[in-house]
């Protein structure tokens, strides 16, 4: 634990001290970049509001992410069922990814109304593609001799899926989920900009009030949320793969 926490902590402390110094000495205007101490103070002063916003954004991100995980894996399984299905539908999955979220968010408000449902939808749109792409690639790269082995013993397509293809794809599924976790938080914040609520609203309102310290405090919390989600997936990945996959066996 000491070994994994200490290395990233050193540059964080260094940069914080340097920012504090630069702002206090007047090298950087505090209305552009606030002193870390001011951000900390804003966090303490607005703790109730920020905590509520964090909880709301967490709920939206987690729900959107969970939806992405289940839907993404299900879509990948369907796409892997045949080359024809893949050729017909995969381009739309890619298209989904290339549509700019910020342009779609107002549409989501029209469809789902103001509130958390739009935030969840936005988090979902932002984060579903990496799950589809990685899961599909994992399923399709199942070891051919193992597929032969399953055929030799008359395994049904369902047995092959659950006993071979999905377990074999797990390392790639987790890679998709890691990318998707960060994107879900971004998607939720974008959704909140338009639909209201959560840290997205705090950032938006604090910006109009010139409360740059509060903007930074909210952004910091959003990053912590993203990191937390990423950490959760890492933990799940470690618990699932540690016995058999090289990526989880180092040191």
């Amino acid at each position: 634990m000491k070994k994994t926490l200490l290395p990233p902590l050193i540059p964080f402390i260094g940069l914080t001290l340097m920012a504090e110094f630069l702002v206090r000495q007047g090298f950087v205007r505090p209305y552009l970049v606030p002193a870390p101490s001011a951000v900390f103070r804003a966090m303490i002063d607005s703790r109730v509001e920020l905590l509520q916003a964090l909880l709301s954004t967490s709920a939206g991100s987690l729900a959107g992410f969970a939806l992405s995980a289940f839907t993404g894996i299900a879509i990948a399984v369907l796409l892997s069922s045949s080359r024809a299905v893949q050729r017909a539908f995969y381009p739309y999955a890619i298209f989904f990814q290339t549509v700019p979220l910020i342009a779609v968010a107002p549409l989501l408000v029209i469809w789902f109304g103001f509130g958390i449902q739009t935030v969840i939808a936005s988090a979902f749109v932002a984060s579903v593609f990496p799950v589809i792409a990685n899961t599909l690639s994992g399923i399709l790269s199942t070891d051919p001799p193992l597929r032969d082995l399953f055929r030799l013993y008359g395994a049904s397509p369902l047995a092959t899926l659950f006993k071979l293809r999905l377990p074999a794809a797990l390392p790639q599924v987790f890679t998709g989920l890691r990318v998707s976790a960060g994107l879900a938080v971004i998607g939720a914040i974008v959704g909140e900009f338009i639909a209201g609520g959560g840290l997205g609203s705090v950032v938006d309102i604090a910006r109009t009030q010139q409360r740059i310290d509060k903007v930074f405090a909210a952004v910091l919390l959003a990053s912590v949320l993203g990191l937390g989600l990423f950490g959760l997936i890492n933990l799940l990945s470690h618990l699932t793969l540690r016995r058999w996959h090289a990526s989880e066996q180092a040191e």
Binding site: D143, P145, L146, D148, L149, F150, R151, L152, Y153, G154, A155, A159, K163, L164, P167, A168, L170, R243, W244, H245, A246, Q249
Partner: protein, 243 residues
């Protein structure tokens, strides 16, 4: 189990003839080695016998016919499921065939005992040596008590000492169980040491250049490796390959 091939032909990409009309009979209980240079169709032949690929024309029959899952296949590498321990990997074929849990674990234990791996039941493939992994693969093939065992260069990736050891073990297993074995290999010494009969395929079209019953004692152990009779058989096989 007997295998009968009649005018079997297999073509890749509509132009590359891998096997151009092969006739071959393998009698029940035979240990046949199939030798030949790379790309001569050895593995394709094995896959067709296992029904993992279909011939473009001709016919492959196994006798007695109609018995499902009487064939087992051992691949070039162990190809185990890395997320399953040794016992669950060995029991996999029976699980896929719908066998009850107690029965399949009992059979898996028996198969692992035959390859001398009973002490490694709960280990994962990543914790095993290459030789041990291959023995698990062999146990997985034996767990269904197959009457036809197909092996596609199974020991090629192993070091020589491990290979010698596994050769002796495989031969003993065959003698004990009386199944038909078809063993595809690059190695002339391995073919001569293991088999009762060897078939050498030509580089193109899978034509049979030599079909020979090996004149060697039934019991094969490491002492045989220095025996001039083995050397003589190896020379004959090598001569046919290089012809």
């Amino acid at each position: 189990m007997a295998v009968q091939l009649d005018a079997v032909r297999r073509v890749f990409d509509n132009k590359h003839v891998v096997i151009a009309g092969m006739d071959l009979r393998i009698d029940p209980g035979e240990f046949l080695a199939v030798l030949g240079p790379s790309g001569c169709g050895k593995s394709t032949l094995l896959r067709m016998i296992a029904r993992l690929a279909e011939p473009d024309s001709g016919r492959i029959r196994t006798e007695p016919n109609g018995e499902r899952f009487q064939t087992a296949f051992v691949f070039q590498d162990a190809h185990l499921l890395p997320w399953r321990n040794v016992l669950d990997n060995t029991a996999l074929p029976l699980e896929l065939m719908g066998e009850a849990k107690a029965k399949r674990y009992e059979s898996a234990r028996a198969a692992l005992e035959q390859v001398g791996l009973l002490e490694a039941l709960d280990r994962y493939p990543g914790q095993l040596s290459g030789g041990m992994r291959m023995r698990v693969s062999l146990a997985r093939a034996l767990v269904t008590e197959p009457r036809l065992l197909l092996l596609d260069e199974p020991f090629a990736a192993l070091d020589e000492i491990t290979r010698f050891h596994l050769d002796v073990q495989l031969r003993e297993l065959w003698q004990r169980r009386g199944m038909t074995v078809i063993f595809v290999t690059h190695s002339v010494s391995e073919a001569a040491f293991l088999a009762n009969r060897a078939v050498v395929l030509a580089r193109r079209g899978g034509a049979i250049k030599l079909d020979r019953t090996l004149e060697l004692p039934a019991v094969r152990n490491n002492e045989l490796r220095g025996d001039p009779r083995l050397g003589q058989e190896m020379r004959l096989l090598l001569g046919a390959i290089e012809e």
